[in-house]
Structures are given as structure tokens and as C-alpha cells.
Symmetry: none
Subunit: 212 residues, 4 copies
């Protein structure tokens, strides 16, 4: 499972820890801005202002406007992966699967702006950056594939690899749906209820997949 190298966003600043600080400022400012007006309508001047410094300084830490979008997307996946890795106990029980779904959905709810942005703007990235992000997405799918496979025995249930792949995709997509369709869902669901019903629907779905 080879991981792609992080794409290097070039800087003219040398102090690594300063870069770290400034980039977080950029990411946070940009998320607020992009959420409000989208990537294309946000100007670099606005991004700089939202980050708390001048346009000149912004360009000391990025090379192009697109770099900002990449920084945001990359940051989201780092956070998702870190949070997900925290709950993996590797017990192979349904409980673990349920917990993973719950954590993933809650994470999306907490980072709903970031997810919405990533979700709608990925296509504005360069081919290279886009594939890097797609790879990260597939990693997410693979994490859930692993968890699902792990607990299949305890369910006395057989799913082919392909079916596991579909199931994992299901989770990832329905999670994202909470972000990009919140305008529709929140009319009738809180995140707690959404997690509960989606989990029930999903589990009864895979448990009885081969019954008829």
C-alpha cells in the first residue's frame, strides 16, 4: 500500500516552524472564505486578509492560488486519518465497525465546512494534486474495507472483496452526504439520529446481503 509523497508547496521562507504556523493561518482563513464564496470567487487578497497578513506575505508561503486549495484539502485528510487511527482497536467486532462509522460521521459534522469545500472544489486542483487527493480518498475507503473484513467472521457472514469495497464506499459516501446534503437532511435529522439510522440501514444491508 504505497503512499504517494506529499506534494511540496514551495516557500521562500526558511524557518520551518514559522511555515507551519503561517500555513495553519492560511488554511483556517481560507476555509472560512471558501465556505462563504467558493474557491473561484475568493481572491488572493481576501485569502491573505483572512489569514491575517498581507498579500506579499501570503505569496511567501505559497506559489499559486491553487496551492491554498491543496493545502486545505491535504489538511483535512491528515485530520481525518489521525482521528480515525485513534479509535482503531482491531478487535474485529461489530462494535468496532459501529464506532468507526460514528467517529467518521461525527468528524465530518465537526469539519463540515472543510468537507463541503473539499468536496466541491477538488476538481479545481491540478491533475497532479487531484490525484494525490483521490489517493487519500482511496486510503479512507481502504481503512473501512479493513474494518469491515475484520468483523465479518463474527457476523458469520460472507462478502466478496468486491462487495466489501462497495460497502466501504457506501460508508464514505453517506458520510460525505451529511456534508454536502445537510441542507436537505438537517430538516429531519440531527447528526446523532443520522448516525443511528444510517448505521442500522447499513448493517442490516450487509448482514442480509446474500439472503433473499
Amino acid at each position: 500500500m504505497t503512499e504517494k509523497e506529499k506534494i511540496v508547496v514551495k516557500t521562500s521562507v526558511k524557518d520551518e516552524s514559522l511555515i507551519e504556523i503561517r500555513r495553519l493561518q492560511i488554511i483556517n482563513g481560507a476555509v472560512n472564505l471558501f465556505k462563504e464564496k467558493g474557491f473561484h470567487r475568493a481572491t488572493t487578497r481576501e485569502i491573505a486578509k483572512a489569514a491575517g497578513f498581507s498579500i506579499g506575505t501570503l505569496y511567501e508561503y505559497i506559489r499559486t492560488k491553487e496551492d491554498v486549495l491543496y493545502l486545505v484539502c491535504d489538511h483535512i485528510y491528515d485530520k481525518v486519518k489521525q482521528q480515525l487511527s485513534m479509535i482503531l482497536s482491531d478487535t474485529g467486532t461489530v462494535k468496532e465497525l459501529k464506532e468507526a462509522i460514528k467517529q467518521y460521521f461525527y468528524l465530518i459534522d465537526r469539519m463540515i465546512d472543510e468537507f463541503t469545500i473539499m468536496y466541491q472544489e477538488t476538481k479545481s486542483l491540478s491533475k497532479e494534486a487531484m490525484h494525490y487527493i483521490f489517493d487519500k480518498e482511496l486510503e479512507m475507503v481502504r481503512i473501512f474495507e479493513g474494518i469491515i473484513k475484520n468483523c465479518l467472521p463474527s457476523l458469520e457472514n460472507r462478502l466478496t472483496d468486491k462487495e466489501v469495497f462497495l460497502a466501504a464506499n457506501h460508508i464514505v459516501v453517506q458520510g460525505q452526504a451529511w456534508a454536502f446534503r445537510k441542507w436537505a437532511l438537517k430538516k429531519r435529522y440531527t447528526i446523532e439520529e443520522y448516525v443511528e439510522d444510517q448505521t442500522k440501514l447499513f448493517l442490516s444491508g450487509i448482514l442480509n446481503f446474500h439472503e433473499k
Copy 2:
């Protein structure tokens, strides 16, 4: 079930049938263009060229660039609705539900460019146009809610309205997922296989929703 009025895109041309013709030219040209470069990167000159006339003429049939996007989105939903209404036989059987899912998924597969565009660019519409499109989306959900409710009796199954709403959303989302995640799904699934497995997963899910 109040339907919003179609938003009027102003024209300086009087001949209604000419408007119809020109707008279809615009939509078809724009879809190809937006698919390739996205709404923001496409220029009005390019849109005019893709439609087959001059920039001046384009502006005889729209008022702003955003109108083009609205025209495209609106057109897609009209087509979806029309196609879906063709298969509704109102028999209240699972067969009908299956058929509806199948038709909807196949339709998305056939109009994958249009769906991808709509899906990624909706947020670029004005508030007003966006809500109009959201309304159309909800109509879609409602259609599936209706079909699901209709065949529940024959399944000796009880789902609350809220659960039906979630189930209908599920279908709509997984259908769209075929468009916006095709890059991942097509590695292992054809549309036929996707329809089959998604249908199985969905049906076993709702059939056993309240078991445990």
C-alpha cells in the same frame, strides 16, 4: 406540494421557438465545455462558440453567465423527471421500486457529464437559482419516497416517514455517487453490476431495518 415557478431567464428576442432552439444549442455547448474546464474556467466567448454563434448573439438569449449554468441544471432535472415519470406504473410492487432505481441509475450513467457538472457547480448559482435547483432535488427525493411507501405493504414492513425519507435520500445519493465517484467505482464495477449490488444492499437494508 408546491412547485416553484421556473425562474425566468430574460431575453431580448421575441420568437419563442427560436429561443427554444438557441437555448438548446447553448446548453449542449456549455455541457461539453463545463465538463472539460468547469464553469468558472469557461469564458462566455467559449460558450458562444460552443453554441455555434457569436458572443453578441449569446447575450440575446441570456443576461449573465450564471444564466447558462442555471439553464444547464434546469435542463437536467427536466430530463430526469420526464424519464422517471415514463416508468411509473403505480403497481406498488418491489419490482416497480427496482425498476425505478435501475432507470434512475442508468439515466445518470447516460447523462454522467451533465450530472457531474450540476453536482459540482450548483454552489456557483445565485441563492435564488440554487434554491430552485434544491427544490428540484427534493422533488426527486419525494418521487422515490412515494415509490417506497407504495410498496411497503407488499413487503409487510413498517418504516416511519423519517426512515422512508432517509431511504429515498439513500437512493438519490448513491445514484449521484456513480457520477461523482466514477473515478473510484469504475475500477471494479460496471453500471450493471453497480445497479445490481446497490439494489441488493438497499433492499436487504430496508427489509431488515427493524430486525436485530
Copy 3:
């Protein structure tokens, strides 16, 4: 003696005669501007203003700022060649040579701004455009080579091809020198005197080249 194709400066305007008019406006405006502040310090907005229209219109007739410089340089050579070809009578007399020198020097004096610009800014052109301009320069040299060779017999004088080449270069350079060193020369010379003395110096030089 193959002539390079003119480099095409792309336009979005279709009306050829309009292009002609606008380009002359651009050239005239730019010459005044470049004379005053040089190519690099002149902004595209200033060029547009000097040409008499808006920045947007300027860019309908050029693609990059460098195109303006190329247009200017190209225009100068066209004019030089046209004027020089008018006096060529092909009689093979010293009179013709003297007349050619005179016309060339006077032409430079009349177009002194244009020559100064071309002379100082050529290096700012792209490789391609620069070589095109260099080629035009060599054409000039070749014209004078031809005239010199033509009248050598009547002078009962032998010069090798190489020496003729040097002599032709001499004329071209001393002509340009009137433009780029006018600040020094005009202190003691009028153009008429300059032509007279330069011609004398040159002719006595080549007439006695092989004496000692």
C-alpha cells in the same frame, strides 16, 4: 536570399483594415512612450492610453506587451527598406553609393526615436522575434554590400567579399551611431555635416584600403 516569414501577432479582431489602423496607433503611441521611459518602464495601460484606447482594446490587437515592441521594430525596418528601395537606380556609380548613404542617414535622422528604441530594446524581444529582427538588419547590410560591389569597378578598386562586408557594416553602424550617440555628436555636427564627413571618411577609406 530567403526572407523569413513575418511573425504573426495574434488578434481577436477580424477586420483586417481595422487591425492596420489600430496597429499604427499602437506603434505611434508606443514610440513616443518608449522614447520617454523605455520599454520596461512603460506600462501596458500607458501604451493603451498613448494609442488612444482602453487597455482592453489594446489586448484585442496584441497578445503580450512584447508584441508591441516587435510591432515597433518590424515597422521601422519596413519603412527603411521601402525608402531605400526607392532610391536604388542600379547605375553602379559612386554617386549611387553616396546617395544611398545620404538617404539612409537622413532616414535615421527623421526616425531617430524609432531607431534609438529599436537599438536599445531589441534584446528584450523573445529569441524568435530577436532573430527575425537580426535578419532584417542583415538584409540592410546586404543591400549596402550590393551597392558597394556594384560601384567597385568604376573605382578600379578591388575589395574582397569580406572587406565589402565590413564596409557595409561600417555604413550601417555609423548610421545607427547618429541615433544612439546623438547626445555626443550633435554638439559639433548637424546631420548634413555628419553625412558629408562620414561619406568622405568612408570613401577615402575604401578607396585607399589596399594602398600603403
Copy 4:
């Protein structure tokens, strides 16, 4: 014959010998850089880097970017003058004139990058600095005027002051031409051949100037 004061380039550094060292670093770095991209396209950061220190340090030794250009031009003339003064023996023979021409042309050949730069970028200097450089140029002309006048008696030849001025200009210009027209001349001439033929052309020119 008043010589202008050297223009003072302000420094915040006190140590005079350090200033000397740093300025030479700046000049050498800048010459390489300007040769490659011209004055305007070279950035101060690049100049600093080429000089071997940071942008901050560069600005300890200059006040504006233009100062760098002035430093380079000034340095060239200092070098030319120094080298030319080395060969002046004041014998009043044609041999001395020939030697001076030779040394001057060879010097240009050795410092061809510097001359090309000076020649093309002088116009980018401030009025003040430009006139200082022009003065240096006139000094060069005067040096050759002196040498020519000196050896006229031995040639039994009369030239007016004005004609001597033209002749001196001739030498200076044809020397520079080796730098700024090398692209054309080097196709047929080595520097040795160029010196030889130019000298012959020049001497036979002035020797027979008043014959007919």
C-alpha cells in the same frame, strides 16, 4: 576639462575596505546576471544571491537597484581607462595610435559582457547617473582625440578639430560595435582580423580624407 565627481552610492556600513570587497562581489555577480537576463529582468534577490549574500546585506551597500547598474557601468570605465593609460607612451607615432586602437578593441573583446550590458542598459540609469556615464564616454573620445592629434604631424596630414572629433568617435563606436554586433561580425571575423581591417580602413580614411 572638468571631471565630474564620482556619484556617491550611500552605505550604512563604515568599514571602507569591506565596502570595496562587497561592491566587487556585487559587480561581478551582477554582470553575470545582467548578461543573462538584462537589468530589468534581474531581481534584487538574484543580485544578492549572485553576489554571495542575503538581500538584507545587499541593501547595506546600495540604496536602490539602480545603484547596482551604476556601480557596474562605473567599474567598466575605470577598467578601460586604467588599461588604456597603461599603453600611452606619448611618442606621437602612428604606431602608438595603432597600438591604442588594438588595446582598446582587445579590451572590449575581453570585457564583452560588461560592454554589452553598459551599452544596452545605460538608458535605465537616472538622468544624473546617465550624464556621469556619458561624461566618461566623452573622456574616452578625448583620449583618442589626443592620440590622433599627436600623430598627425608625423603623417603630414591636416585634420580640423572637428574632423579629429569625428575620427575619435569612429574608433570608439567601431570598438563598441564589436560588442553589440558580435552576433553579425563573428560570422566572418575574429577579433584579430577585425582589428586589422578596421585599423586599415580607419587609417586610409583619415590619411586621404582631404584628397579627392
